[in-house]
């Protein structure tokens, strides 16, 4: 990855921020920056970190949204039934963990290709959610009793993201397990020939990724105080986009935490900026879609030359 290509991502980010700052007076206000950081960013960041983990290991996880939703479902339902917040969080862990375990079984156990396996999970999860909510009816919590847990989660949102960043970052760059999964992603055959348990490792990665997505699910449902079925899927494309955007930042073209964060920022800034300039919600998807496409093109072209 040439030096110039590497800094394309942060450069683009700076350019876009400057552009929006100049054209929209409200962009650089503290309130707006806070809303960028807090609203979309936290959840997308967590989902993208989960995706970064899976892509590092050489796979892709189309069910990251499903894990988000399952966690949210368990969380809200338990709270609604009067359960303690601690129990609700445990339920969320279980919900997401179930998705992760299912993926681990398919990919690690049955050696199915990650794309197809997680595609299957995605749609089975869809069925499960539709059945549980009788066709996609969101579950709202009674507005009456204030729940301190929500306020707690809201306040600690960025801390959670920070924790995940440190955790995933440390795992990928400094841990033995991280080294194994990166090797399994870059050269699965070589890793296999070196005695690395590639399939077992990727199974563990799927579970870990689902758990991180589960945290996103708790954050999401805490902030909207409800569970809306299939809302996690909205983050899927952007999570993929941010992760691959991030690979351009790495010297090696590998998925990495810093790059993914820059990617998340880029996409959030694009969405927020377009919103402020009055561009309709729907053009936002096209815009971020085009950005993702161009990044993929860049990523694959420079990978060939590298």
């Amino acid at each position: 990855m040439s030096a110039y290509a590497r800094f394309g991502l942060p450069a683009a980010l700076i350019v876009l921020i400057a552009l929006f700052a100049l054209t929209t007076p409200t962009f650089l206000t503290l309130a707006n920056l806070k809303s960028i950081a807090v609203n979309h960013f936290a959840i997308l960041a967590l989902a993208s970190l989960a995706m970064t983990l899976v892509v590092s290991a050489g796979g892709i996880d189309l069910s990251v949204g499903t894990a988000i939703d399952m966690a949210a479902l368990a969380y809200i339902v338990i709270l609604q039934q009067g359960g303690a917040p601690a129990l609700a969080i445990l339920g969320a862990v279980a919900g997401a963990g179930l998705v992760g375990l299912f993926n681990a079984g398919l990919i690690g156990g049955l050696a199915l290709p990650p794309f197809l396996a997680t595609l299957g999970t995605l749609f089975i999860g869809q069925s499960v959610q539709q059945l549980a909510t009788n066709g996609g009816v969101p579950i709202y919590l009674i507005a009456g009793a204030p729940r301190p847990i929500f306020a707690l989660i809201d306040a600690s949102r960025l801390w959670l993201v920070g924790l995940a960043i440190v955790g995933v970052g440390a795992l990928l760059t400094a841990s033995v397990f991280g080294r194994r999964i990166v090797a399994g992603g870059v050269g699965p055959a070589v890793a296999f020939y070196s005695g690395v348990p590639v399939r077992r490792d990727i199974g563990k990665v799927m579970i870990l990724a689902a758990l991180i997505a589960g945290v996103a699910g708790v954050v999401l449902s805490s902030s909207v105080r409800s569970y809306a079925p299939l809302s996690g899927n909205g983050y899927l494309m952007d999570a993929i986009g941010a992760t691959f955007l991030g690979t351009t930042f790495s010297r090696w073209g590998r998925a990495n935490v810093a790059g993914t964060l820059l990617g998340v920022l880029l996409l959030s800034v694009v969405k927020n900026g377009l919103l402020l300039t009055g561009v309709s919600f729907y053009w936002q998807q096209v815009a971020s879609g085009v950005v993702i496409f161009l990044v993929l093109a860049l990523s694959f072209v420079s990978r060939r030359e590298g």
Partner: protein
Amino acid sequence: MTVASALALRAIRKSFGGVQALDGATLVVERGSVHGLVGQNGAGKSTLIKILAGIHHADAGVIEVDGVKQTALTPSKSERLGIHFIHQDRLLAPSLTVAEALLLGHEPRWPGTPFINRRRLERQATEALRRAFDIALPARALVRELSNAEQQIVQITRALLNQPKILVFDEPTTALVRREADFLFQAIRRFRAEGLTVLYISHYLNEIRDLCDEVTVVRNGRDVARVDARSTPTTRLVSLMIDRSVDQLFPARAPRFGEIGLEVVALTLEGVFRDVSLGARKGEILGVTGLVGSGAKGLAQALFGLARPTSGEIRVGGAAVRAKTPRAAVAAGIALVPEDRRRHGVALGLSVRENTTLASLGRFRRFGFLAARREVAAVDGLIARLSIHTPNAETPVRALSGGNQQKVALAKWLIKGSEVIVLDEPTVGVDVAAKADIYREIAELAANGAAVVLVSSDLMEVQGLADRTLVFFRGAVVADLETHQLDQDRLLTLVTTGRDDRETHVKAAE
């Protein structure tokens, strides 16, 4: 009036990044003859053929086809000149039928419609197969349902449909059994009778003598002889192929042998080798050699858990080992430096450091994290010890030369310190300087107490390095001798014919 030769490559020179693959090689093939091309691995045969195919361009020399000088050959030009290659890989689409595969690109149609005339397609295919081989393969069978030999028949027939002038066979019998090989030879004799010119490359010297009119021997990038096939005994061919120059490649050794490190008892791998027994002591380098398909490679695979033996036992340090995966083999103390360096040996996208410590991460573990400084120190030490030429340990292995990549592959197991180390073609595609370094390390491995198994088709390498040598031929061990009991002639004869030199001499005298 002299008739122009069908093919003449004269004084061809070609180098690849400092390695001189061809150094003035000449090959002249007379029209209507079957011409054999022999030489050891790395002698330059395949480079010569690739130049003929237009895949590489010669640095110097002249190519003439039918007396007409050719410049800048390309694959399509080569084909248009009537030169067709029967490669080792079949290059047939597996899900097509025999008829479809034969006539792909020239499918007969119902006149005036865009539809394939299936009946004519099948009839033409059956006709072609009958004419070429007098064989009746079902035109509707799928390519993937055919045996190797049958696929080769389809491959050859397809080439024949192009009315070639010259057919080049590249190691055609490696995957064939005796009966199928004989069938192929009958066909080749028929082709010759019909005026076709055949260039036949093979390691099996008996076949060369049976089939060919003339033979060209290539050695060290040059042709060293062009002889009449039938009147030249195998032993003479063998001695022409061998490079008798003394290389300072091999380290002096004073091996000291310990107890048995690796033991194999009556090991059988269905279809690959049968009833193999061997013992390698600690400190010993055991050479294992044989042609492709002889079973030597299969042994390496079975030892490392890549192929499950049908019967028999493998013992490391006296304990039975049943490795079903490489991971289990590594845990049992067996290491493998694989033949395909780029696909199995080193991960091109990982750094030198990441590759080197890949099999021994546990050694650098501290509370789940990598002890970075210890790792760096260990890797730097190995880089120095093996003289790995790399800007630093963070360089991606992709950027290293073949020889240095192989050193990294070796370093990985040096760090691990396995009791048994299997090396599969450790110096293929490696330059001379790196070869010497690698040989030194292999000797060092043995000196440090490992039992080293050296699987190699490079006879010079086996001769120079191994204490004992096992020769495989068509799935069985045909010799197990101290290396000093074998001279190169005897070794090559064993490898290419499965019979011991002495016997051949005795037979000739009868």
